[in-house]
Assembly symmetry: C2
Homo-oligomer: 368 residues x 2
């Protein structure tokens, strides 16, 4: 009897066969060491979306290990300042953090590619590049130089372009604008005459309120509404061309990662996969209500003009050329991602874009 025949017969015998394969073996004592880690988040606890990713990771790891591997999340600044999370992981002050890789471009611009670079991948294609392209492989080769192991663990989707006190109608309107903007995008806006600032999420509101800065981008409607930006800036632009689908990472100290039992590595990997999708799902579920709340507060929604996007695109290409000429890691990983992007955006124009376009037309026509 060949295998197919055997199993067909087994299947036919129904419940009996199932009973024979489930829970058949006696419980066996296993070694499951108690591991307790601390995680520093770069986000304030008030943002259940982006801070919530750390809680998801902790819960799903604990649940899958019967509470033997616990991760205690701390909000930004509770034990480590938001912008020092990667250092704290590199030097093992904490075992792991939940952060944006691009906060650490000051150490090396290659960090930016881990999150998002201007005119990079959208959320879905970010997952594709990390999971099935060379993203996880290449970024982890780079992160290893910093004693870090990285796992994608969240995404916000294409972000809003941020809050401006004045209208930005032309490229020239960026001149002299002091703007909170994260990652490599600051260098792009600098080419247009803006003055970029890197400020942690919790500190943006007072800076914008006091006029220390003229503009600020954070994430999107739900988080931005909570942080209250609509009270201190009137214009809300879109899209954040510098954040088409930013990835939030779990960074683990590389030695700590290597010291984990394989089952705990798997539990953490899977928990991060859950957190990754769940954060995007939270944003997609919460942003629609929030954008309506924001508009009801008198905020003016504006798209950046095609001219502005083009100018920023060209400026971004110059920045990439410049960084690539000086940084081998950046060059190697950037070129891999661009090759991926060219192919992916060709395919996305067919079914995906046509489908969404039709659905949006129906939405606008009140037919959904």
């Amino acid at each position: 009897m060949d295998r197919r025949t055997f199993f067909r017969k087994a299947a036919v015998s129904g419940a009996g066969a199932a009973a024979a394969t489930a829970l058949a073996a006696p419980a066996i004592a296993q070694s499951s060491p108690k591991v307790s880690w601390r995680l520093t988040s770069s986000f304030p606890k008030s943002l259940d979306t982006i801070y919530g990713g750390a809680e998801d990771i902790a819960k799903h790891v604990s649940d899958a290990t019967d509470g033997n591997f616990t991760i205690q999340p701390f909000a930004a600044a509770e034990i480590v300042p938001a912008m020092q999370a990667a250092d704290a992981v590199s030097n093992a002050t904490v075992e792991m953090c939940h952060t944006c890789s691009y906060y650490f471009v000051g150490k090396d611009p290659t960090f930016a590619i881990g999150t998002a670079i201007p005119f990079g991948l959208n959320a879905r294609l970010s997952n594709a590049w990390f999971y099935q392209g060379n993203g996880n492989k290449l970024m982890n080769e780079f992160y290893a130089t910093q004693k870090i192991y990285g796992l994608p663990a969240g995404n916000t989707g294409a972000q809003m372009g941020g809050w401006f006190r004045k209208e930005i109608n032309t490229v020239d309107d960026f001149k002299g604008v002091k703007m909170r903007i994260a990652g490599i995008a600051g260098r792009v806006l600098e080419k247009l005459g803006a003055v970029p600032q890197q400020i942690a999420g919790g500190d943006i509101y007072p800076a914008l309120e006091k006029g220390t800065i003229d503009a600020a981008e954070w994430v999107g409607p739900y988080d931005d509404y909570k942080l209250g930006f609509y009270k201190v800036a009137k214009y809300y632009y879109y899209p954040a061309f510098w954040e088409g689908g930013p990835v939030i990472h779990a960074f683990v100290n590389l030695d700590k990662w290597n010291s984990l039992p394989p089952a705990y590595q798997a539990a953490l990997t899977n928990a991060c996969a859950f957190a990754n999708t769940n954060m995007m799902a939270k944003y997609d579920t919460k942003n629609p209500t929030a954008i309506k709340q924001i508009v009801s507060q008198g905020t003016t929604l504006r798209p950046f003009s095609q001219d502005i996007l083009e100018a920023c695109y060209n400026a971004a290409m110059e920045v990439y050329k410049d960084i690539s000429s000086k940084n081998e890691w950046f060059k190697k990983i950037y070129e891999d991602q661009v090759a991926f992007k060219k192919e992916a955006y060709l395919w996305m124009q067919l079914s995906e874009y046509t489908y969404d376009t039709f659905m949006m037309i129906q939405q606008r026509n009140g037919k959904l």
Copy 2:
């Protein structure tokens, strides 16, 4: 000393503090029962994308449980025919399956909403509805009536509209077309005069080759190229308005699910989350090359006209009205999803759509 001060100090003390919190407790013997399950897939092994989801689930569960909880995947028809996977789970012939919920609309049309219904949610919004909307909750209330517990475990993205031997230029061109089409979409095309057929993936090619059917939709370029449809039909239409972001499900027999230790339930939940994202990533990575291969074989790519999409949209609304008038489960879950969709597609028009549109313009202009 308050908690913040304490941890700040602990952080400053650096590696010592980290050492104190990691691996501090001795290994403790735990009870991890041996559980061996069989999974029947509704897909042929040749499709590493959609069949691969079952392998991902099995590997990630096994890895996270030190090999104590094993799931053995079988291809469609090895132990259970593709279209009987849900029955085999309901009656515990196998503990679980990996399938499309909408294959079982013959039992109850509510099954369709679990995968995709015409003009439903795209892949990202499907995740949002299942994870953070009422999707998982409502569908599992329904699945429980079938002795099934469902977990999203894969997505293909917006599918292609399928392979036609003749051009479909007008709504009338659908008249008399015998088409392999899954789920509730058959009822929509029936209203336009087509003759829908439900055929498992592995059996489509011979039917199309012999002329038993005139048209067939399966998934998208990568799978469709493998199955060879380009050899027997010239026109490849898009999009599949009936599959904007179809979810592939893991169905678990409800009693078997309830009998699992909580840690194994968590391991399986997390493994399915991984498989869910990884399948989408595979499609997004493999489809671009495949669509170029298909075109190089002489296939003609065609979008469905706006008129056709509108006619199908109107037909779909009639179908939903009809089913809702007869089926309380369908009505309740459908209305929840529609409410979610209206909100979500409003928000997606801003940053997400504007960003993607700009990127696609750059792609077409050869500037990416």
